[in-house]
């Protein structure tokens, strides 16, 4: 009886009190802030879309089979393309990937699973975080000293190493995050089945974390493919094919899209400037394709 009396005592809202009142302070503030956030999101995407628009308009007109397959033109020459630069970019990013992915993922396994609290881990994590902010030109200086000076020539491996220096920290940090994100209970299951630590890492953690790791690798590849500064004094540039007559001339100066864009955009020739635009579009499309492919591969299968 007591309980019922107490319920009756609670004041019920009057009719209309639950209706929307759009001009109340609270509702107005909500509306304004929501609009502000929408605006911020739009502003944030403006640079990307304006760049894409400009690239498609100015680079698209020059895009042709010739542009993709021919060698760069010299001086007043008309026509030509940047086929060797595409090959050079792919080869050097490939070399960088071959170096940075195994090293980076292995380091990430150590950081995430083997000794997450060890002194070595702290030092490595600190170094990786610092390296992500490293001016890319310094990666070039490092590769110049390590490879160009010792081998005596500008080369694709020198460029690859410079790019690898930039990729490693990105791979390490994103792969560590991805491995850490594997649930504790999944690790328990693996250890409970009688896995050694390496088997836990290799058979369970890496496959489970694969989508996250691939995302990190792709971020790194995207960053490396667009870098110009580290290649300027490691791979330099070349107007010739990297592979010719069945021979790979890896230890020669090597062309890349980024350096070609850098070189050609500053030239006083209309033809070269058009090619620089087209090359920019190709570079962006390459990064885009890599991203899409990595998402398809890394998609969790259910």
């Amino acid at each position: 009886m007591n309980g019922r009396a107490a319920v009756a005592d609670v004041e019920l809202p009057d009719v209309g009190e639950l209706d929307r009142s759009p001009f109340e302070r609270r509702a107005l503030r909500n509306l304004l802030l929501t609009a502000g956030i929408w605006l911020a999101a739009v502003i944030a995407s403006v640079p990307l879309f304006s760049v894409l628009y400009l690239l498609v308009v100015r680079g698209g007109s020059r895009l042709s089979i010739e542009a993709l397959t021919a060698l760069p033109p010299a001086g007043f020459e008309m026509g030509g393309g940047f086929g060797n630069a595409i090959v050079g970019t792919i080869v050097m990013v490939g070399i960088a990937g071959l170096i940075s992915v195994p090293v980076g993922v292995a380091a990430a396994v150590f950081l995430a699973e083997i000794g997450p609290l060890s002194r070595l881990s702290r030092a490595t994590r600190f170094a990786a975080k610092t390296l992500t902010g490293l001016p890319s030109v310094l990666a070039g200086v490092f590769a110049y000293a390590a490879v160009v000076l010792t081998t005596g020539s500008y080369s694709a491996p020198a460029g690859g190493l410079a790019l690898a220096v930039l990729m490693v920290p990105i791979v390490v940090l994103t792969a560590e995050e991805a491995i850490r994100a594997v649930p504790r209970i999944t690790r328990d299951a693996a250890y409970g089945m009688g896995c050694t630590r390496m088997q836990v890492a290799w058979k369970v953690l890496l496959p489970t974390a694969l989508p996250g790791i691939l995302t990190g690798v792709m971020l790194a590849v995207a960053r490396a493919a667009g870098e110009t500064a580290p290649l300027l004094f490691t791979a330099l540039f070349s107007s010739y094919w990297l592979f010719e007559g069945g021979q790979a001339r890896l230890m020669q100066p090597t062309a890349s899209l980024a350096v070609l864009i850098y070189n050609f955009s500053g030239m006083p020739f209309e033809n070269q400037i058009e090619l620089a635009w087209a090359a920019s579009l190709v570079l962006v499309l390459m990064v885009l394709v890599i991203n899409v492919v990595s998402r398809l591969i890394g998609r969790p299968r259910v």
Partner: protein
Amino acid sequence: MAHAMATTTAERSRREATNGTTAAAAASTAVIDCRLEQVHYGGFLAVRDSHLQIQKGRITGFIGPSGCGKSTVLRSLNRMNDLIRGFRLQGQVRFHGTDVYARHVDPVAVRRHIGMVFQQPNPFSMSIFDNVAFGLRLNRFKGNIPERVERALRQAALWDEVKDKLKHSGLSLSGGQQQRLCIARAVATEPAVLLMDEPCSALDPIATRRIEELMLQLKQQYTIAIVTHNMQQAQRVADVTAFFSVDITRGSRTGYLVEVGPTQQVFESPAETMTKEYVSGHFS
């Protein structure tokens, strides 16, 4: 908790004596002889004085209030606690006569012979088939893997539900199915003992019932030790019940074994007042 205080050494030896009669009858069939003196996590004494045997072909149920150390004891049997920082164990866990904590013993090898099913279903993020084949491949099993996978899935009463989608991810199954998949994964390598740490606590009553039926079937081939929060579950499935409690009189929360015996005896005529109060629902 006055009872805990009153648990004298004399009482304990009497308990072990009563316990000993049943143990003696089954002495030759004990697969695991657990003689834990103390288990620490860092400076914290988590479990003390817990002596019990896991008998072949039986289901041993561990019951007791939260924090009584029943999971710690279970996970000590296959050295899963080694993964926890600061874990230290005094005592012995004899598995077929070998102390699994002896210096020369490899914990990885122990876990391959003593399988485990966890509280949360935790299939790997791979296909149903690969989940069950995982242990076989790990042990470089040379025989017919598909055949063994099918057998394990049948034993786990999951075959009919998944036989047409063995390539689907193990994570696509429902919670109860995932737990049965984990059981299939554990039994595929035919472990000597199967440890189950509250395997039904994340499941609904229907899925729980299926797992319980499954345990009764698995008992014909496997030795099982199960931790459960649910006394009815212990009564339904366990042949032997071990009751643990918490001792908070020493300024800490230390779990210990109060008594162990045939389930019916523990529930109907327990030797200890503590057990009696717990099984009759006076505290939990």
